[in-house]
Symmetry: C2
Subunit: 432 residues, 2 copies
């Protein structure tokens, strides 16, 4: 019977140092749960000389990966150093060395997740990645275990805290996009270069992970339609509010008999939708299952201790499996072939905001364009505020295909009376 489980920690940044704190401060509870001591035996860092505030002894720090991986007393490797290539290689080597692996690296899991899970299967080692999506929210485990008996048909999530913070400030404090982004940066929610967040790249990676798991298939980065926040126009959020909607930057995925669709984009949600009231830097994922119906999982999407909580929960799972002798026995290859819907097979309601020449007959011409494309309209509203360029019109469609939506926009742009297609968004919520 093992008396202790040793960990090799790769990386000692925000998440890594959080993991060390939790394993130290919750040691008694962990020992009670597992019946063994859990220790961080080695920590891989770039600079071993750097002064660090930590309870760990100075001699656990090393700058040599092989020193961590070749230590036979180390059972579990935690990869929280980041970097796609280095992260992937470290995980591979750890699995080859027969270690269970816990990672928070969404870039690696989005790009090489299936390959690494196959390798983990082959090497009979656990590979857990709860912290790669949704920070402290136990999403992966919920989908794998809690909803194990259900068939997930749709999921929609606020999975990027920075963009949710920006949109919350814009809505509740009437900030401009630029000011809200500046505040997010000042508070440390946004990186110095915020493009991965605001362009939807971060959410795209997380959606690859979530959708692959939800639908038991291999979703690739290029399968995700991505549209960032930069196209938002002044007035869009106020218009959303006027029609009873809240704009949220979400990842969404759905599956039906035609196939799968995955997207990351700003969407108008009916105010009564549970996601509409998820504010600030919080994340939440709304999951629709065949038999369970609507569920939502809410919590901190980032941060040192929340993310480290998820990493450490994975460590507990890995420890249990090691102690029970069932390490690496639960992975599965995806059950279904990947089949992505075409634009003609994805249906949604759309909001179009258009500036037109303020002339008689324009409205008739425009509604004619919608009907020519078979796009049925739910509402047409003349925007009451003046626009310097011309008259502003808002169209909200019934459910149409993404292709119809694109075709309508293209035709509108080619219509002489249309001065500008200001903005367009998908609309989520019941027809009203």
């Amino acid at each position: 019977m093992k008396k202790e489980i040793n960990i090799g920690l790769l990386g000692f940044g925000t998440v890594g140092s959080g993991v060390a704190k939790i394993i130290h401060s919750h040691q008694q509870d962990l020992q009670y749960k597992l019946g063994v001591e859990v220790s961080i035996k080695k920590v891989l860092v770039k600079n071993i000389e750097k002064e660090r505030e930590t309870v760990l002894a100075k001699d656990v720090f090393t700058n040599r990966l092989d020193e961590v991986l070749s230590d036979p007393s180390i059972d579990i490797i935690i990869e929280v150093m980041g970097g796609t290539t280095e992260g992937k290689e470290a995980i591979q080597q750890a699995l080859y060395a027969g270690k269970a692996v816990v990672t928070a690296n969404k870039d690696v899991m989005a790009e090489y997740g299936q390959e690494l899970l196959r390798l983990a299967d082959e090497k009979k080692c656990d590979l857990f990645y709860e912290a790669s999506v949704g920070g402290g929210i136990p999403l992966i485990r919920t989908m794998e275990e809690g909803l194990a008996a259900d068939r997930i048909t749709a999921l929609t999530g606020i999975i990027n805290g920075t963009t949710n913070f920006i949109l919350t400030k814009m809505k509740h404090e009437n900030m401009s996009y630029e000011d809200a982004l500046a505040e997010a940066t000042a508070l440390g929610f946004a990186e110095a270069d915020p493009s991965a967040d605001v362009d939807g790249i971060d959410a795209q990676r997380k959606m690859v992970i979530l959708a692959s798991l939800a639908f038991s298939t291999e979703i690739k980065l290029e399968d995700v339609f991505v549209r960032g926040l930069k196209e938002i126009q002044p007035g869009d959020l106020e218009l959303a509010a006027r029609f009873g909607y809240t704009m949220k930057m979400v990842g969404s995925a759905a599956k039906n008999e035609d196939g799968i669709e995955v997207a990351v984009e700003p969407v108008f949600f009916q105010n009564s939708h549970p996601l509409a009231s998820v504010n600030n830097e919080y994340n939440a994922v709304y999951i629709y299952g065949d038999t369970v119906g609507e569920t939502m999982f809410y919590g901190p999407g980032a941060g040192s201790l929340p993310t480290a909580t998820s990493v450490t929960a994975d460590v507990v799972a890995a420890c249990r499996n090691i102690l029970l002798g069932v390490n690496g026995k639960r992975h599965h290859a995806p059950q279904y072939e990947r089949k992505i819907k075409t634009n003609c097979e994805m249906f949604a309601r759309y909001f179009h905001r258009i500036v037109v020449q303020d002339e008689v007959g324009v409205l008739t011409k425009l509604t004619g364009i919608y009907s020519d494309h078979g796009a049925s309209l739910a509402s047409v509203i003349q925007h009451p505020d003046t626009n310097d360029e011309g008259a502003e019109l808002v169209f909200i469609t019934h459910k149409i295909s993404r292709q119809q939506h694109l075709d309508v926009l293209a035709t509108l742009k080619d219509t002489p009376e249309v001065l500008n297609v200001l903005s367009h968004y998908r609309v989520e919520g019941d027809e009203s």
Copy 2:
């Protein structure tokens, strides 16, 4: 290697028939996940002659429990027949017979949970009870696995769909309590005798289960302070709204160095609190963990298929453990001694609504009563609406002990100028 796992289903009511449906309709997915066929081999019912709409063959139905339990080919017993004594005995006998057990029986788990978990440990059999709280929301699993590395310090939950439905109708459609209850009954959310729901008994049982697990201790039914919905006065919800609060019937539990407090009662939540916007028959549990911070888990709290989804998730977990040969290896006795706080050790803000004689000096006398008891006031408001009896005053306190709250109310009731203490509620949310 086992080729199939057989189930004995005790009870074929709302949940039992839902389980049979899911196991049938998701059979292919279950087989893929588990690598074996999962079959319902026997179903215990009172009346085997009754006509039932089901895919199960007529000969699987029996009215003899021993016939189910003595079948050596049955690996897992699902207890969804209800009843405290019968439920407990069936679970005990199943564990003695060496079967893994899955139950949705909150009454049994609240009253005999610790005893049965100890027996399960002894008999080396799994005992899962995800469906006993929160219907389709995977709460038990989330606390045991997802937050395994954290220390839960507080949880607050809307865990009774009927009372949440009633309060939602009262708030959003201005219904009276009686009308809202009648609609809940008509829609099948409330039982013919709704007392278990509206008096908080159902929530009390669920809180015993949740708090015992959250704090790894043995909470008993008598540890839970319970106050039902019947004391709500006309106008209370409007007053809540006027001050920016929403009334919710919740179970709450918290732990600090002084001990544990558990309560079920209607509470005023600040509108910005995530629980304030959980509406209709939905349930949601807000969990605060030491390191993860705020999380919330939302979904259907009852219903045939949602509850059956949780039961079947437990079945999947039990199957996996059986197939891996680790059935019954994960239970633990509670880690901590039970220590319940006294009324002097529980602190909260309170809302008091009082009818007084409309005379000079009354307000001074009343605020004097608060200060005599060391109860500091956050706001005192003369209710602008007239009351036939006298003037209406609303007091909102800063944090005071429950004992101070009770002492103030007792003194108020004994004060000649006080005509009536109309209502009083705990207030959740930041001091404002």
